[in-house]
């Protein structure tokens, strides 16, 4: 018994997919890039010409590609995304040779307004009676993950963060500030560690 993967093909229905969905048509993917199920796109609402751009030789497994209407998710070559969540309002850019382990969340927004009055407005706008297209303003800043970054299990990367080339995010770390290239961080909030954890 083996996990099955299918080429990430725009507009396709995957043969034998357990989830009754399709790959969105505004996806661009390179050669030998694969995915396990259209379930990854359950929360993908990007409406742009390209909402998800993926390079070649990438594996996407059980990863939630949650994208708002104007969102753009970019992923380079030779990345491996396992059981992660990308929650994108504007832009999440992931370089090449990036490993993202299980339980990881990467988000480029605060999800909701910080001010109390704004949150009241948001609960109304998000309700069954509300107009989701006119939500109150929410803090959004793009996330950039540069080449060769490794992100451990259950780590969280918040809005506006740039993780520099070759940096390592330890399991469970909560990253809310930039991580310089090649630096290894751990903890909540994440701080540089001298040696491997």
């Amino acid at each position: 018994m083996t996990q099955l993967f299918y080429p990430l093909t725009p507009g396709a229905t995957l043969p034998g997919d357990w989830f009754p969905g399709k790959i969105p048509s505004n996806v661009v993917a390179g050669e030998s890039t694969v995915i396990d199920s259209s379930f990854c796109f359950k929360h993908f609402f990007a409406r742009g010409l390209v909402g998800l751009r993926v390079g070649s030789h990438v594996t996407i497994w059980r990863t939630s590609l949650a994208a708002d209407a104007d969102a753009v998710i970019e992923i380079g070559d030779y990345c491996y995304l396992a059981n992660a969540s990308l929650v994108c309002t504007e832009r999440i850019s992931i370089g090449s040779y990036v490993m993202i382990a299980g339980g990881v969340t990467i988000a480029d927004s605060d999800f909701h307004p910080v001010g109390p009055a704004g949150r009241i407005a948001d609960t109304i706008a998000l309700s069954g009676r509300g107009d989701r297209s006119h939500r109150p303003a929410i803090g959004v800043r793009p996330v950039v993950i540069e080449d060769g970054v490794w992100i451990g299990w259950n780590a969280t990367i918040l809005k506006g963060v740039r993780v520099g080339e070759g940096a390592v995010i330890a399991p469970g770390a909560l990253v809310h500030r930039d991580v310089p290239a090649g630096v290894h961080v751990a903890g909540n909030p994440a701080r540089p560690v001298q040696e491997a954890p």
Partner: protein
């Protein structure tokens, strides 16, 4: 090889369980979905003890040489287990959602060159299985351990009997029996009274079984 015939009724996933797992009596499994990444070639590759349960999205990411053993009355509630050698979980353990037990690092200690080589190798494997980047080191949970939600238990760790790991804790080193550990970095905050005697267990079996 099940001790008793085991069949998932009404499983939405519909791809069935692997053949090389040994399932005890009165075991509960939500769905075969969590077994899709189970590639163990060992016999058995997984043991689920009597009256244990794999609930919600409990997931077994087990490599060809990996094996997992789970004791009696243990609850795996959406736990994510990565085994390329051995993960052993005792009896009466409680493991909450989002918790990760892994005997293998994804490669945070490896050089950037080695990490790239790993990702190239994964892309060349039709099954896209990320092999161990570093040698696995077995993980052991003794009996009656409670792991809080979103915690991570890292390779080589042994957690002693009766211990509690608070939610979102990253367990980088062994935990002594009956210790309560929390945080990241982890620290010990309490020592519990070891009142889980064999007599207490017998009494509980007498009082709480149907």
């Amino acid at each position: 090889m099940s001790d008793t015939p085991f069949e998932l009724v009404y499983d939405w996933y519909g791809r069935g369980l692997p053949p090389n797992i040994r399932i005890g009596r009165d075991v509960y499994i939500d769905s075969a979905y969590g077994f899709a990444p189970f590639r163990s070639q060992r016999t058995p590759g997984l043991v689920l003890g009597d009256a244990s349960g794999a609930y919600d999205r409990a997931t077994f990411v087990v490599g060809p040489q990996g094996a997992v053993a789970v004791g009696e009355y243990t609850v795996l509630n959406g736990t994510y287990i990565v085994a390329n050698d051995r993960v052993t979980i005792g009896s009466h353990c409680l493991l909450a959602w989002g918790s990760v037990l892994t005997d293998t690092w994804v490669g945070v200690h490896a050089s950037p060159v080695a990490r790239r080589a790993t990702l190239r190798a994964v892309a060349g494997d039709p099954a896209r299985h990320p092999g161990p980047v570093e040698p696995p080191r077995p993980v052991t949970l003794e009996d009656n351990v409670w792991i809080g939600f979103d915690s991570v238990v890292l390779p080589g760790v042994t957690i002693g009997r009766g211990a509690i790991v608070g939610c979102k804790t990253v367990v980088t080193m062994d935990v002594a029996p009956y210790d309560v550990v929390v945080g990241d970095p982890m620290r010990v905050v309490r020592r519990l009274d070891p009142d889980d005697t064999p007599e207490a267990r017998e009494r509980a079996l007498h009082e709480h079984l149907k």
